[in-house]
C-alpha cells in the first residue's frame, strides 16, 4: 500500500484541515493500529529522522504516546521538558526553538501553554511542527484519536451525534473535536456550566445545551472532558458535589437512558467528579481504545508529515 499524500506540511490544528486529509490520516492510523497488534511493533519508516518532543507544560500521557509512536517508527527521539515558568523567566519561545533548530531536528512536537504557540513556532523553524496542545486552542492529535475511536466503534463518523461535556471554555480538546467532527459530517452539541461555554461558540457550527440528560438522550457518543481540580471551590465551580450532580456521568444518570451511549474521555480522569469509576470502566466506555488509537494516529501523523516518501510496504 502506498499511502496517498496529504496536503499538510505541519499539524497545527484541525481547523481548516480537509475531509480527505483527515480521512487519510485516520485510514493510515488504522493501518498502524494493526502494526501495534503484531508481536514486533517496530517499523523502520523514520530511521534516521530526528524528532524532539518539546513540552513546556507537564503532560504524561500525550508525551508518552508521542514518544512511543516515534520509537515504533524508528525515529531518533529527544525529550525536552520545561516547566511553563521557565518561559516567563525570559526564555523566549524563539530562543528555545532556535536552539533546537540548530541541532538539526526534522520535527518538533510541542506542548505549550499559549494559544497560537505552534503556529508561531512554525514561522521560526523549517522543521515539521506538530502541535501537541497549545493552551486552550487546539490538540489536533487528540481530535484525530477521538475520531478514530468513534469510527472504530460506529464504522463511520458522518451523521453521528456527538456531545462534548464539561469545561468547554478551557479545553483544547473541545475545539479540535469540534473542527474535526464538523469537517467529517458529525453533529456536535456542547454541554457544560454556562460560564464555561465559550461565547459565540454556536458560530463554530455547534449547538449548546446545558442539560446533560437532554444531551445524553440525543447523542450517539459523548466526550467527557476533565474538570480541572484547580477550578473547584474557587468560585468558578462551587463544589464537586454540585458538578457531579449536574454534569457528571454517574451510574444512575446513565442508567436512566435506555440506549447505549458510547463514552469517550481524553484523560486524565477525575473519577467521581465528571465520570463515575464504574462508568469509566464499563462496557460503554472506549477510553482504553482511545489510548491505543492515540499511538496509532500519531504514528500516522508522523508518517505523513515525515516519512511518506517511502511506502508502507517497507513496514
Amino acid at each position: 500500500m502506498r499511502a496517498p499524500a496529504i496536503s499538510l506540511t505541519n499539524l497545527i490544528g484541525l481547523e481548516g484541515v480537509s475531509r480527505s486529509d483527515i480521512q487519510t490520516l485516520l485510514d493510515t492510523g488504522f493501518y498502524f493500529r494493526d502494526v501495534l497488534d503484531r508481536p514486533i511493533k517496530k517499523v523502520p519508516i523514520l530511521t534516521g529522522i530526528n524528532v524532539v518532543n518539546l513540552f513546556f507544560e507537564s503532560s504524561t500521557r500525550t508525551r508518552i504516546s508521542f514518544e512511543l509512536a516515534e520509537k515504533r517508527l524508528s525515529a531518533d527521539v529527544v525529550n525536552f521538558s520545561a516547566a511553563a515558568s521557565s518561559l516567563s523567566k525570559g526564555e523566549g519561545l524563539k530562543d528555545t526553538v532556535r536552539n533546537i533548530h540548530a541541532m538539526k531536528m526534522d520535527a518538533v512536537v510541542m506542548r505549550h501553554p499559549a494559544p497560537g504557540a505552534a503556529l508561531q513556532l512554525s514561522r521560526f523553524v523549517d522543521a515539521v511542527v506538530i502541535n501537541a496542545g497549545d493552551g486552550t486552542h487546539e490538540h489536533p492529535t487528540q481530535g484525530l484519536l477521538d475520531m478514530m475511536s468513534i469510527r472504530e466503534k460506529f464504522g463511520r463518523i458522518k451523521g453521528l451525534k456527538i456531545g462534548i461535556i464539561g469545561d468547554i471554555a478551557h479545553s483544547r480538546v473541545a475545539l479540535s473535536n469540534i473542527f474535526g467532527l464538523n469537517t467529517m459530517g458529525a453533529e456536535v452539541t456542547v454541554c457544560g456550566p454556562g460560564h464555561l461555554i465559550p461565547p459565540f461558540i454556536e458560530e463554530l457550527g455547534v449547538r449548546v445545551n446545558g442539560d446533560v440528560d437532554a444531551v445524553l438522550e440525543w447523542a450517539d457518543a459523548v466526550n467527557v472532558l476533565r474538570i480541572q481540580r484547580e477550578r473547584m471551590g474557587v468560585g468558578i465551580i462551587p463544589s464537586v458535589r454540585e458538578y457531579r450532580n449536574r454534569f457528571g456521568l454517574t451510574v444512575e444518570r446513565l442508567a436512566r437512558h435506555k440506549k447505549e451511549i458510547v463514552i469517550l474521555h481524553p484523560g486524565p480522569m477525575n473519577r467521581g467528579v465528571e465520570i463515575d469509576s464504574d462508568v469509566a470502566d464499563g462496557d460503554q466506555a472506549i477510553i482504553l481504545d482511545q489510548v491505543l488509537n492515540g499511538v496509532a494516529v500519531r504514528m500516522s501523523v508522523l508518517f505523513h508529515l515525515l516519512g511518506a516518501r517511502g511506502s508502507l510496504e517497507e513496514a
Binding site: A114, P115, P198
Partner: protein
C-alpha cells in the same frame, strides 16, 4: 525613504494649497521659513532658500498627538524622547503628549520638570501627562496640582484603569478648577479577565482569552456618570467599541463636558488582524469587530469623538516575539497614523480638511492648546501632505526604536511629504 535634518536657515515651500485649521481657510501660495519662523516669501531677501516643490500638495498645521508612549525614563530600549520625536516628525506630528507609564512613573512635579527640561532640545514640542495616582497604583492621588504647576497638561494612569470609582471621582473634583483633563484607561480588569483580544467567535475559534466590549463600555459608563455628577473634565481615550461611542455621544448630548479620542488602528484594523496570532496586533483595548470599527469611524465623522490619537506604544522585537499570552500590549502608530486614517476616512466621505482638524484642532481642544497661525511671525509648524499618493508602509518608514506594527506591507493612500518645525524638518525623498 526620508531624512530628518536640522532646519535650513531659509526654506521656501512653493506652489502649495495651504489649509489653516485655526481659521478653517484655504488659500494658494508659497510659504517661506527663515530662522525657524514664517515670513513673507518676498522678504527672504538675499538668503538662498532650500526649495520644496509643493505643487499638488496640501500644506497645513503640524499634527498634534495627545497619546504616545516615549518610554523615557526607564525603557529607552523601546523608545526615547529623541527617537520618539523622530517618529513623530516622520508621521507629520510637531507636538506630542507623552503618557506617564514610565519607570519610574511620572507622578511628581520633579519628574514632570525633568522631562520637560530634557524636551527642550527636541525638534518637536513635548507635553507631559502626569499620573493620576502615586506610582500609577490607583490608590492615592498624586500631587496633581503641583504637577500642573510644573507643566503637566493632563493626568492619566494609562495602561492601568482606575478601578476604584472614588479615586476617579476625587481626581475629577480635585482638578476641576484647574481644568486639566483626567484620562482614564477604561477597562474593567475582572471583566477583561486576562483577555488578549476581542471576545468574539474569533477568540473562541483561536482559543485565546477574550476581552469583552463590556469591559470597556461598563467602565466608560461609570466614568461618564461620575463626570456628570462632578462636572469634572473627563477625557475618554482609545474608544474601541460601538457601545462606547454611543455612550460618549449620549453624554455629550446631555451637555456633560467630556471629550474622546480614537486611534488610527481602531479605525483601520479589526480583530481579523489576530487570526494568525500576530502579537503586533495585540493592543489594549483590543482591535474589535467590523461593526465596532465602523461605529468608531462614524463617531469621528459626526463629532462624538473629538480627535485622533495614536497610542504609539513601542515594544522591542524580543518582547513581541513571545507568545500571545506573554507578549505586551501595544503597537507603534506615529509614522502610519495619517496614511492609515486617510485611507480609511477618505473613502468614508470625510473631507481632508476635516481629517486635518481631527489631528490638529481636535487634540488642541482636548488639552486646551493654541494652534500656531500659519502667518508671518509664527514659528514654523507645518506638515506637507500628499493626500492622493499611494505608498506601501515598510520598515524604512519607521523611525521609532521599535517596529511593533501589524501594518507593514499595507498600502496607504495619502502620505506625509515633509514636516517642518522651528528646529528640524523631515523630508521624504
Amino acid at each position: 525613504m526620508g531624512r530628518i535634518a536640522p532646519l535650513p536657515k531659509a526654506l521656501l515651500i512653493e506652489g502649495a494649497t495651504i489649509y489653516d485649521p485655526a481659521t478653517g481657510k484655504t488659500r494658494r501660495g508659497d510659504l517661506a521659513v527663515k530662522n525657524g519662523r514664517l515670513i513673507e516669501p518676498e522678504k527672504l531677501g538675499a538668503a538662498k532658500p532650500e526649495r520644496l516643490d509643493a505643487r499638488g500638495a496640501l500644506v497645513t498645521h503640524g499634527f498634534i498627538d495627545i497619546h504616545a508612549h516615549f518610554r523615557e525614563p526607564g525603557r529607552e530600549d523601546q523608545e526615547s524622547l529623541e527617537s520618539g520625536s523622530r517618529a513623530a516628525l516622520a508621521g507629520g506630528f510637531t507636538r506630542v503628549a507623552v503618557m506617564p507609564n514610565t519607570l519610574p512613573a511620572i507622578d511628581s512635579p520633579e519628574m514632570v520638570r525633568s522631562l520637560l527640561e530634557k524636551a527642550e532640545r527636541l525638534p518637536i514640542v513635548l507635553y507631559v501627562i502626569g499620573a493620576i495616582s502615586r506610582g500609577r497604583e490607583g490608590l492615592e492621588l498624586a500631587e496633581l496640582l503641583e504637577m500642573q504647576a510644573a507643566g503637566a497638561l493632563a493626568f492619566s494612569d494609562d495602561g492601568n484603569p482606575i478601578a476604584d470609582g472614588q479615586v476617579l471621582r476625587r481626581a475629577l473634583l480635585y482638578t476641576k478648577d484647574a481644568g486639566t483633563p483626567i484620562i482614564n484607561h477604561a477597562e474593567d480588569l475582572p471583566l477583561r479577565d486576562g483577555g488578549v483580544m476581542n471576545q468574539s467567535a474569533l477568540s473562541t475559534r483561536l482559543g485565546l482569552p477574550g476581552n469583552p466590549v463590556e469591559a470597556e463600555a461598563a467602565m466608560v459608563h461609570r466614568d461618564l456618570l461620575i463626570a456628570q455628577e462632578t462636572g469634572g473634565r473627563l477625557h475618554v481615550p482609545h474608544v474601541s467599541t460601538a457601545l462606547t461611542v454611543d455612550l460618549v455621544r449620549r453624554f455629550k448630548e446631555a451637555g456633560v463636558p467630556i471629550t474622546a479620542e480614537a486611534t488610527p488602528h481602531h479605525l483601520g484594523l479589526t480583530e481579523e488582524a489576530l487570526r494568525q496570532f500576530d502579537t503586533n496586533a495585540k493592543v489594549a483595548p483590543p482591535l474589535r469587530t467590523e461593526a465596532d470599527r465602523q461605529a468608531v469611524v462614524k463617531g469621528l465623522m459626526d463629532g462624538a469623538i473629538d480627535c485622533i490619537a495614536t497610542d504609539h506604544a513601542p515594544h522591542t522585537v524580543e518582547e513581541k516575539e513571545q507568545d500571545m499570552i506573554q507578549a505586551p500590549f501595544g503597537m507603534i502608530g506615529l509614522e502610519s497614523a495619517f496614511g492609515l486614517a486617510n485611507t480609511v476616512l477618505g473613502p468614508a466621505g470625510l473631507a481632508i480638511e476635516k481629517l486635518i482638524d481631527l489631528l490638529t484642532v481636535g487634540p488642541a481642544r482636548v488639552l486646551g492648546l493654541e494652534l500656531t497661525p500659519l502667518e508671518p511671525g509664527s514659528p514654523a509648524e507645518l506638515v506637507v501632505l500628499r493626500p492622493d499618493d499611494e505608498w506601501t508602509f515598510s520598515r524604512e518608514d519607521i523611525y521609532s526604536r521599535s517596529r511593533n506594527t501589524p501594518l507593514l506591507g499595507r498600502l496607504f493612500t495619502g502620505r506625509v511629504q515633509a514636516t517642518v518645525t522651528d528646529r528640524a524638518w523631515y523630508l521624504r525623498d
